[in-house]
């Protein structure tokens, strides 16, 4: 039978299932937190930072656990790191370029 690398036996696998439920609850809690924090009406830069940190943690949980990224192969990491670099580039450089010169 074909092997997909992680999860060798049904018992070990069922333990994994527990992780999914934990992450599920954590995600719902973090959602509540992020909405709750928004009612505090923090100063804009802090509000942005907090919201992005919480979102990043949620994203890390989804990616790491649901998408199995935490135990993924090096090739995938390499592709994602490259993508992350270009993602930051496209996210930040256009705004930086425009604001450094004459704003249009």
């Amino acid at each position: 039978m074909a092997e997909t690398a992680d999860h060798s036996s049904p018992e070990a696998f069922k333990k994994h299932l527990g992780q999914y439920y934990v992450v599920f609850v954590a995600l719902l809690c973090l959602t509540a937190v992020t909405v709750g924090v928004s009612y505090l009406h923090l100063q804009r830069p802090i509000a942005i930072a907090v919201a992005l940190v919480i979102a990043t943690v949620k994203a890390a949980l989804v990616a790491g656990v649901f998408m199995h990224l935490i135990s993924e192969k090096k090739v995938i990491y390499a592709v994602l790191i490259l993508t992350a670099a270009f993602f930051l580039l496209v996210l930040l450089l256009p705004s930086l370029t425009i604001f450094e010169g004459v704003a249009v």
Partner: protein, 588 residues
């Protein structure tokens, strides 16, 4: 044995090729084929047709530039009163020709030919695979490309004609342009989708489906080049897709993503919300379009590598250097894009940043060119037709690359931006650069695809006529640019500095029409050679894996799965009687 055969009843193993399994109906064998070779030929023929059509648009446009305001004999009346009233080109039609020429050549001609055709056909063969990793996805890629291309051409029949805001489609003009622009955007979505799906296929295929013994460092440079190219397509195209969606929103849903506040057109304030940024489009467009030009050149460099190694009968000089340079080039191509935007008012920090990265990116290009030139040294050069094109590529690409330097340096770019100098620069790289490499590839792999050889005499005529005419087209443009002649001008003679270089326009236009005639021997040769007798196996005595398969290869490619025993360019090994030692030959 194929790994998927451990599940009993599922398969016939990897022997479909030999056993000629259930015959597929015509439409599944030739129309919606999932065989990479059929798809490669589909891409190739379609792309060549689009390429010649895009060239025809330029032949028309060049009449207006050579003889502004004069009626075009014969053809002028055929194009209708909208486009050519009284046989004289309308400015609106001139703009359509310019925008569509660029769009068609880049997105429907070169990339589908270099990547879709050559990549699809050759890569699986050169790595010893039975097909691409996702054959059905491959089929979908082609069938997104063809409708996209046809839709793009259909723009000519829209009210107001085809897209006319340059291939760069800058807003605000493109936001308010005629219907053809919407068609351009929709067609681009299809074309981008085709490229994205294709790039996924290439990357997985090259990593996962290599034959036994074919390590990364034994891959032909052509495969390395296609590999890097695929990453560029994968990661650089989506921002343009996002931008296209936003421009569609601007045009169809009256949003103002790219429309600033307070825009007035012909005395009328534009009734939109405003608050948008035309520069946003430029950033997103060039984020793709700069890596795109490396998509145009890398597969060409790959072809040149194959042809030079084969026709010098010695290994490539600096193979590892070539690979590292290609990878570095691909990476750097993502961080230079704003050198297309030096004139948009950016500050000195960012312009210094982009100028620096642009200078750095010239290094791997020079290294690659140097490796190719060094590869000639000491070679037993055979001037076959592919080799003629490959040899010409070297100085032509050098001119293209060198003329990029004053454009990448902000100080000189102030003067040269948007002049004919730019047109001369990029055409040198793409036309006597890439297109010559693609011709080399056609002559080189024609025996593989068809089992026949093209006529070499006709090939030489094609080469020499093309070489002379193409330099006649693009070399004068540098003078025109340095004289200050702007690009995209309907009538250059309205300016004194335009009139000063108008005689060059006549020379250029006649060279273009000569270049068209120079293609006739090629077109004839391409089809007539199909009736030649069958050529010998491996007529070029090449070492790479594609020549282990029959010509043309059957479905599944290899009769027995090939094994690789050595590096890709083992030519003229000392002590051997034969001057080439194929990768797939077991004997030492």
């Amino acid at each position: 044995m194929s790994a998927s055969t451990t599940h009993g009843h599922a398969t016939h193993g990897g022997h479909d090729a030999a056993h000629g399994h259930h015959e597929l109906p015509f439409w599944r064998k030739y129309i919606f084929s999932v065989d990479h070779k059929v798809i490669g030929v589909q891409y190739g023929v379609t792309a060549l047709v689009f390429l010649f059509f895009g060239f025809t648009l330029m032949m028309l446009l060049r009449w207006q530039l050579a003889y502004p305001g004069q009626p075009l004999p014969v053809v002028g009346k055929l194009l209708g009163e909208n486009a050519m009233p009284g046989g004289v080109m309308a400015p609106e039609f001139y703009n359509q020709l310019g925008a569509m020429h660029g769009t068609i050549m880049v997105f429907m001609g070169i990339v589908p030919l270099a990547v879709g055709a050559f990549g699809n056909y050759v890569v699986p063969l050169q790595i010893g695979a039975p097909d691409m990793a996702f054959p059905r996805l491959n089929m979908v890629s082609y069938w997104a490309f063809l409708p996209g291309g046809l839709l793009m051409l259909a723009g000519f029949f829209a009210p107001g004609g085809a897209a006319n805001s340059g291939w760069t489609s800058y807003p605000p003009l493109s936001d308010i342009a005629t219907t053809g622009q919407t068609i351009w955007l929709l067609a681009m979505v299809l074309l981008i989708t085709s490229s994205l799906l294709g790039s996924i296929n290439f990357i997985v295929t090259i990593v996962q489906l290599r034959a036994k013994g074919l390590t990364f460092w034994r891959l032909p440079f052509f495969v390395h080049a296609q590999f890097v190219t695929s990453f560029l397509l994968l990661l650089a195209f989506p921002p343009l897709e996002a931008a296209a969606v936003m421009q569609l929103m601007d045009r169809l849903a009256a949003t103002s993503f790219f429309l600033p506040s307070g825009l007035v057109i012909s005395g009328e304030p534009l009734r939109v919300a405003g608050g948008g940024s035309p520069l946003l489009w430029q950033h997103l467009f060039w984020f793709l379009a700069h890596p795109e030009v490396y998509v145009l050149i890398l597969p060409a460099m790959g072809i040149i590598a194959e042809v030079i190694a084969n026709n010098t009968r010695k290994p490539l000089w600096g193979y590892r250097l070539l690979v590292y340079s290609a990878i570095f080039l691909g990476f750097m191509s993502f961080v230079v894009w704003a050198h297309h935007m030096f004139m948009t008012g950016m500050g000195t920090t960012m312009s210094t940043f982009f100028q620096t990265t642009t200078m750095i990116i010239s290094i791997p290009s020079v290294v690659i060119l140097t490796c190719f030139i060094m590869s000639l040294y000491g070679g037993a050069i055979r001037y076959t037709v592919p080799m003629l094109f490959a040899t010409a590529f070297l100085p032509m690409f050098a001119i293209g690359g060198l003329t990029g330097l004053p454009l990448g340096l902000t100080a000189s770019d102030i003067y040269l931006h948007d002049t004919f100098y730019v047109i001369g620069h990029f055409h040198y790289v793409v036309a006597p650069g890439t297109i010559f490499a693609l011709f080399a590839g056609i002559y080189y792999w024609y025996p593989k695809v068809t089992g026949k050889q093209m006529n070499q005499t006709l090939g030489k005529i094609h080469f020499w006529l093309s070489f002379i005419c193409i330099n006649g087209v693009f070399m004068p443009m540098f003078w025109q640019g340095m004289a200050g002649l702007s690009r995209r001008l309907y009538d250059p003679t309205i300016y004194a500095h335009g009139r000063a270089v108008q005689s060059l326009n006549v020379l250029i236009s006649w060279s273009v029409w000569g270049l068209a005639i120079a293609q006739l021997p090629f077109i004839w040769n391409f089809f007539a050679s199909l009736r030649h007798p069958k050529a010998v196996e491996n007529p070029w005595q090449a070492t790479t894996l594609e020549w282990a398969a029959p010509s043309p290869p059957p479905h599944g490619n290899f009769v027995t799965p090939p094994v690789v025993y050595r590096d890709p360019y083992e030519y003229s090994e000392p002590g051997r009687s034969s001057d080439f030692h194929p990768q797939f030959a077991r004997e030492a």
